[in-house]
Structures are given as structure tokens and as C-alpha cells.
Symmetry: C2
Subunit: 126 residues, 2 copies
């Protein structure tokens, strides 16, 4: 998911979390093991594809979409498109909103809203 | 809350829900009795003020923020600003996302994502 993460990071010219100090290889490794998709400025369908790839890979039963600022509405779009059109047996199990403090290149701090949407496959009854 | 609702409606040139067929007076009456705030294109602080007015009026213990499309991120902003800066004893009790089908003036249907954020005052222990 590194291509999505880098888009997310580059869309906002500021520091976010511990990942920003990592090299590209370190990030790639973590992102390959992770079920987190960072939603940025790409079209919603890119993220839908990423969600389906993760859920269909068999490694994860749930996926976490993270977005902040204006990308929040795109994360909601991606979750809804996945749920309504492609994976009807996936459901939204958790939604959290929060605020993150980010520092821009000039050192000024500002607050930005964030969202976490957790999508999981429904358990089929035997 | 009529001023906020009209902004919300005008921001999108299409039909949404049953309210659109109502006269201005009917809308005003319903909005005065309702704890729903429709988030549109105004600055987030306008909605924060509306939330505080409703919660401090004594008529409601909870407020529902509704938004769709690009306004979703603004609704999250308003909820977070209220919770972090102005009413620290208010908490987010429920977040729902969904999809609404809207018809534009040419009769074409399209889907748009929506969000409902429920903010309630914490119960103080006696």
C-alpha cells in the first residue's frame, strides 16, 4: 500500500506520526504487513481496489481506512462504494473521529480532524 | 437552525428527503423543534455555535450533525472543535455513514455519501 501512503503524505506538506522518519524500504515493509490504508487525494476507486485487494488476500479479515482533513469524505466514499457495490458481505464495524496536531515546515502547529473507518468481512454462519 | 439548513440545501442543487417540498414556514417550525443540524458550506465555527446553542438551550441532551459529500469533513471538524475546545463534557456517542440517492435537475440519479454524528452531554454523576 506504499503508493497510497506516499500520496497521502505528499498531499499534506507536514509531519505525521513516526513513519515520516523512515526510509522508503522500511515503510514498504510495514505497509505490506499492515491492514491500514491511508486515504489521500487519489480518486476513491483507487482506495476501493486497495481495500478489496487486502480483504481478498486472505491475510486480513478487516481493513482500517485512515484519512484526515478534506480526505475524510473520500474515505467515507471508498467505504460506501466497497460495501454497496463490490463486497456486500463487508460491513463497517467501527468509526472513530479525532484531532491530530501537525507541524508545518515553518514550525507552526495546527489541528486537523481525522477519521478511522474499520471495514470487516461478515462472519458466515455454518 | 433554518439559516444553516438553507445553506446546506442551496449548496447542492438537488432534491434531498421530504423537506424539500415544504414551505419556508413549515421548515422553520420543524427546524426549531429539531435537534438536527445540517452541515453545508459555511465555516465550521458557524456549526459549532449552532451545536452549543442547541445543547445549552436545555431542550436537548443530544444533537445530530448531518452532512453529505464534501461537507462530511466539515461536520467532523465541527464535532471535534466543539468537543475539544468549547464543551469538553460533550462526547460523540454515535457515528453512522451511508449513501443517499439524489436526483439532479435533469432527472439524473447519482449516489452521494452521508454522515450522521451524534453529540451528547456526558451524564454527571451525583
Amino acid at each position: 500500500m506504499n503508493f497510497l501512503f506516499s500520496d497521502y503524505k505528499e498531499s499534506k506538506p507536514f509531519f505525521w506520526g513516526a513513519r515520516c522518519g523512515m526510509s522508503k524500504d522500511e515503510k514498504k515493509k510495514i505497509d505490506a504487513d499492515s491492514n491500514i490504508i491511508y486515504v489521500g487525494n487519489k480518486p476513491p476507486m483507487n482506495y476501493v481496489t486497495a481495500i478489496m485487494a487486502l480483504l481478498n488476500s486472505g491475510n486480513f479479515t478487516e481493513v482500517v481506512l485512515k484519512a484526515r482533513g478534506n480526505a475524510i469524505s473520500r474515505a467515507v466514499d471508498a467505504a460506501e462504494i466497497t460495501h454497496n457495490r463490490f463486497l456486500t458481505n463487508a460491513e463497517v464495524t467501527r468509526i472513530d473521529i479525532g484531532t491530530e496536531t501537525v507541524t508545518n515546515e515553518e514550525g507552526r502547529k495546527s489541528n486537523v480532524s481525522s477519521i478511522e473507518i474499520c471495514l470487516a468481512m461478515k462472519k458466515t454462519e455454518k
